[in-house]
Symmetry: C2
Subunit: 352 residues, 2 copies
């Protein structure tokens, strides 16, 4: 770890250590809610922007400057490694990821070749640019990847879904094939995240965004094994591993057995309740992003509720319970960060 | 109650009594998954179809014939009473309810006038036609309405939403106005459901479909009071009152205090777990509709899992955990019903 990051409140909180202040960052903090981001992006596709390291670096750093958050998160997308190995995927504005040829049978496994570092050279170059810019600060860069189940849901459904009928159908009807698919996707995620850490990322988050579509028994069969595979392979990198999913109230106890160091909590489960379910692991969350849209007083009242539920116990990274909504006023998020820094007490050293 | 319905397995299960067989029906059983429904509906709007009692009656009865389910549910929509009082709403194919002028301020309360029985004469005529057709059977008709929070979410957002940012913003920023709104919607739901029961419906379901968008504290503030108002007003009707919402794992204990007689359980929470959360009330659910789409073996395995979790205890109405998906093969649902009837044991009399 770079010496400046020894004092990172974010990394300390992820390790359950005392902190100088409660750290805060926002999922999807680099994005459409920022006017400077909209100007930077223009009308090109997000995959084009990600492919340009100087653009991706700037998008990554904008929220750090704007909000004073305690971590940067790489401007990227969970389908980037699939795109890099030529699986045939695009991210269509307003529609999300779109798969050219959906995953249907064992023959499609051959289309998921290993990810080589050269495939994502643009991403590792972005990581190098960002971490160079952050040198001398206590702000680390978080790398990330999609968890195998969530990525598999796009491959099988062909795009975003509300019903998950195809991916569940495949998983139940052909569990061996689905296990092979998620194992391949785990290896791709491992290679992708390892490259980011080698280039300078100091923490990683695995987005199993759609895990909440699964029942507890399904989660145990169809997501947890490949998630464990990723977490286990990343253990030697020595960086905090965060696992996040939406609607995971029934799954938190199982997620806590994945090997993750920190469990992300959406806003459905109050933070104090969530904490008991993850068996004492550090937690990240859990302000409802919808409450940051319309009214700063509402946002700060909800922020204080999260802080109160976090209490004085160590191991809380403040965050939203899901990504920043595009309609969010950046000024509200800046006030949320200031409030967390001023009033948060979780693990804050008594000498402060 | 009509004498034939004394032997209704559905009504008995709702009361927690012994049954001759485990009753089953499916949310959205009348709908697009049935070819005879698609033929009946043609290309007109759903509100037009609902406005024609002979069409709505036929749509209501089609799944009873096709599946042998133990209850009919009125072919209707939760926005029907709003449409009937002239609030300005349409249901657009592929988009769902669309509100002409969204609810923004106290001035909009005046646009929510009382619902008079004459406003929904087409609905009560449908109820009369259906119950006449069902005379001599043990199959009751379930009437329904939208719960105030869920209906309010459409009025404030203007249509379906994934973020609920406007309705949550209004509820938090102007709680007195939001309480007045949901109280008005409660009174409309009470009038709507009471008219259906007066015309012959033998049970009612309140759809708080989007309750799961709320945290437990929000549910207690923004949905439970108006839900209680509805349940309390319906108590004297003497028919079972079912309360359903999606993604309600964290809310079930609170929903159980609403006055509802039966709690609907989606598929996220295993039925045996859900049962402990609702404190012994009868439950309805909880087969994942996505598992009925692709493969009959998958559907029946999941059906047997629900039956196993229901066990022998009284008070289980078999259902899906959400509505039938349009892509469902009706033949699969027929096999699900047959399996529930043949293998279900919850409350089945030992003399069977």
């Amino acid at each position: 770890m770079p010496p400046d990051l020894q004092a990172s409140p974010f990394l300390s909180a992820c390790r359950g250590e005392a902190v100088s202040r409660v750290p805060a960052w926002f999922m999807r903090q680099a994005g459409r809610s920022l006017p400077e981001y909209r100007e930077l992006r223009g009308s090109g596709s997000i995959l084009e922007a990600i492919a340009r390291p100087e653009v991706a670096c700037e998008a990554t750093l904008q929220p750090v400057r704007r909000y004073g958050v305690d971590a940067a998160i790489l401007f990227s997308d969970i389908v980037v490694p699939l795109h890099a190995i030529g699986f045939g995927v695009d991210v269509v504005p307003g529609k999300g990821p779109q798969i050219d040829r959906t995953f249907r049978s064992a023959a499609d496994l051959a289309r998921l070749r290993d990810l080589e570092p050269d495939d994502v050279a643009h991403v590792t170059e972005t990581v190098r640019l960002v971490t160079k810019e952050l040198t001398g600060t206590t702000t680390p860069l978080i790398g990330f990847a999609g968890a195998p189940f969530t990525v598999a849901s796009y491959l099988v459904e062909g795009g975003p879904t509300r019903t998950f009928e195809k991916v569940k159908g495949l998983a139940h009807a052909e569990p061996a094939l689905f296990a092979a698919l998620t194992e391949r996707l785990a290896d791709i995620a491992i290679a992708f995240v390892s490259a980011q850490v080698a280039a300078g990322a100091s923490a990683v988050q695995l987005f199993d965004s759609w895990a909440g579509a699964l029942s507890p028994a399904e989660y145990e069969r169809f997501s947890l094994p490949s998630t464990r595979r990723v977490m286990s392979a990343l253990a030697d990198l020595g960086v905090p591993r965060i696992l996040f999913g939406l609607g995971t109230g029934e799954l938190l106890d199982k997620m806590a057995t994945s090997g993750a160091d920190v469990i992300g909590i959406d806003w459905h489960v109050p933070l104090d309740v969530a904490r008991t379910r993850v068996g004492g692991l550090p937690v990240q969350g859990n302000l409802d992003p919808a409450l940051c849209v319309s009214n700063v007083d509402v946002a700060l009242e909800a922020t204080r509720d999260v802080l109160a539920r976090a209490g004085e116990r160590r191991g809380h990274v403040f965050n939203l319970g899901h990504g920043v909504l595009p309609s969010t006023d950046p000024g509200v998020l800046a006030e949320v960060v200031a409030t967390v820094h001023a009033e948060g007490r979780a693990g804050v050293e008594a000498t402060r």
